[in-house]
Subunit: 212 residues, 4 copies
């Protein structure tokens, strides 16, 4: 996840010694700002999650925010997805079924978080403006998992086929859970949640049932 590295001031001078001139940035500021952004997103939604509001809740000045992130979108993006790749969600899956179930659970949890739901509008906005972001996010977020699944699926067929199926599966998992969380009330989604992995694994209209 290097979304935030597009923005920062072009510091990083040639000399390491030069880097330490002046007052160092307070590392606590970044954390409290991200936390404040998450809280506000969950509490008041995207529109009212103002830069000023974030700065006030974090006890921080607005310029300090813009010194770290080039826009509100970048800040929120990191606040919501910045912890990705800390723990690979399906690191210990050994077969496709396990992988699919784990991935579903993970994304279902992810999109159940109120701050994630609230952040989506702004993030989609950013996608519309910057075409490179989506693919970056996709490869960072889904890349490793897709590769793992592709390897597990690669039973005889070529690599290309397995990769294609793995990508489509990830697409369905992410999209399906996202839409589920956005459109359906929390309470009556339980039976659906249980059934989703099965459909992905075995299809909604298995061939063998057609014969009987």
């Amino acid at each position: 996840m290097d979304f935030e590295e597009v923005a920062p001031d072009n510091l990083t001078p040639d000399e390491d010694t030069e880097r330490l001139r002046g007052r160092p940035r307070d590392p606590a500021i970044g954390d409290s700002a991200l936390a404040a952004a998450r809280e506000l997103l969950a509490e008041v939604g995207w529109d009212k999650t103002t830069m000023v509001a974030i700065s006030e809740r974090a006890g921080v000045g607005k310029p300090a925010l813009y010194r770290r992130w080039p826009s509100k979108t970048h800040l929120v993006f990191e606040a919501v997805f910045g912890w990705v790749d800390e723990s690979p969600p399906v690191a210990d899956a050994t077969d496709p079924e396990e992988w699919v179930r784990a991935s579903c659970n993970y994304t279902l949890e992810l999109f159940a978080k109120p701050e994630v739901k609230a952040a989506l509008p702004g993030l989609l906005s950013a996608f519309a403006e910057r075409g490179d972001l989506p693919s970056t996010l996709w490869s960072e977020f889904g890349g490793p998992g897709i590769a793992m699944l592709a390897q597990m699926l690669n039973r005889g067929g070529g690599d290309a086929d397995a990769m294609r199926d793995a990508q489509a599966t990830m697409l369905f998992i992410v999209g399906g859970t996202m839409v589920l969380r956005m459109l359906m009330p929390e309470n009556d989604s339980a039976p659906l949640v249980e059934r989703m992995p099965d459909i992905l694994l075995h299809g909604v209209a298995p061939k063998e049932q057609k014969d009987t």
Copy 2:
């Protein structure tokens, strides 16, 4: 789709006679405003789709817009999703396979429209503010198709199971195509598009392949 009926002035008085007082609203204004909104969304994106820009392109005054929709969000929502249920996308499907392929094509086309992609951020924002919208949209948009699929799937099992599977399938179709369109560049999505219906129909990890 009755989103727009939430907003308008509480007309629909008890008496039909009361309704005809005063100059009637010009029905052409609503249409041209919606068309202008769609065009602007596709051309300049969400942010620059201003109420003033819409009113200018539609040859209409700003108050005329606010008489019909209480906010920009409501207008755009209807502009993008207001034509739903005009033509059921899968009316002529006779078996699940046909249904799935037709639905995939339909939603893939839908989310390929630039105005739909541009409108999504604002619409998700609206969802956050008005919890009733999502479920309304869901039932209007997917309801009929889901019911049809459920009927086709109902081979022996109870209605509840078929309904559940149909809902999950729709979830995957809508979500998967949406994420595909939002995250992936148009050009290299072709092989994926071809494979998606197959996965939904037969699963990524068919049981019979496991045995061999």
Copy 3:
């Protein structure tokens, strides 16, 4: 006062018979509209004296107002000054002193009316846009009185001198009372009011008092 005659539709066809076709205008509408305008001016001031507010209070439609007056300014103008020249305020004055005292009392009363005070801003606006109005108003409002005073003042000197003095006197009376009413609280203006005519009649610095 023919301010309102600028507006009416250019009816007045050649034939008197043609004039009476169609439904005649309801004469009560004009009166109730003027009364409503006066009340609103006195109660809520110029800004909130809306055409809609006038029409509602008068129980009348907005087009009925615009059929009679071409603008809000014209309506308010007539509402406030339309009754002028009904009764010449100084008709029975026999000498300059009497004339000055009567005129002062009259204008003091006039500018004490809340609707007159409230109407002044809009009227001044109209003056700025239409240069002919002020002189019209001046000649209608002050003309007869000025002529009368000029005649009384014409003791030996030429007509021009007397006319000049009469005009200046009227100017002082109107302007002085207007400013008094606009700028000073009602309560502590009593002593001033008593003294004003004397100054106009005999001056602030009479010559004979200087000698003693």
Copy 4:
């Protein structure tokens, strides 16, 4: 003239040190805004003197204006009358006659300025809404001059009488010149202008002339 002190944010905290936090307001902005307002009033009149027009001509953002004045009326008020008491207009008068002539000239010039004439409607509006403004303006604008005249008039009589006469005289000068400038075309006002001070000084109907 402290009209503008009503509006600003309730700064002036207890501590002077608190006042210097944050970026200080650019003092040039206020001046250029006032100048722009004066120019626009003179050129295009009250109605077209828009806040946006002022901000554009001053090269300033609209919020910067609203930071300084709470409304267009306040801004224009200060633009037109903000320079009062910079130079007492009759500082060097030694007798009533001189004082009256100087005051007449001063106010005649004042109300001849196009920006002053254009601003009057809005200002009268402001008076209607804020009752304290008129008396403030009156005391600031006329106070010193009135006091000076009262002292010159105080020949034997009590202070109260002289003060009363001085006030009435000021009322006549201000009101008379204002009405003159508002109602009469510039060109044929010359003879009146010459005669006005004489009437104020000696009256229209001097007693000694009656005898002869």
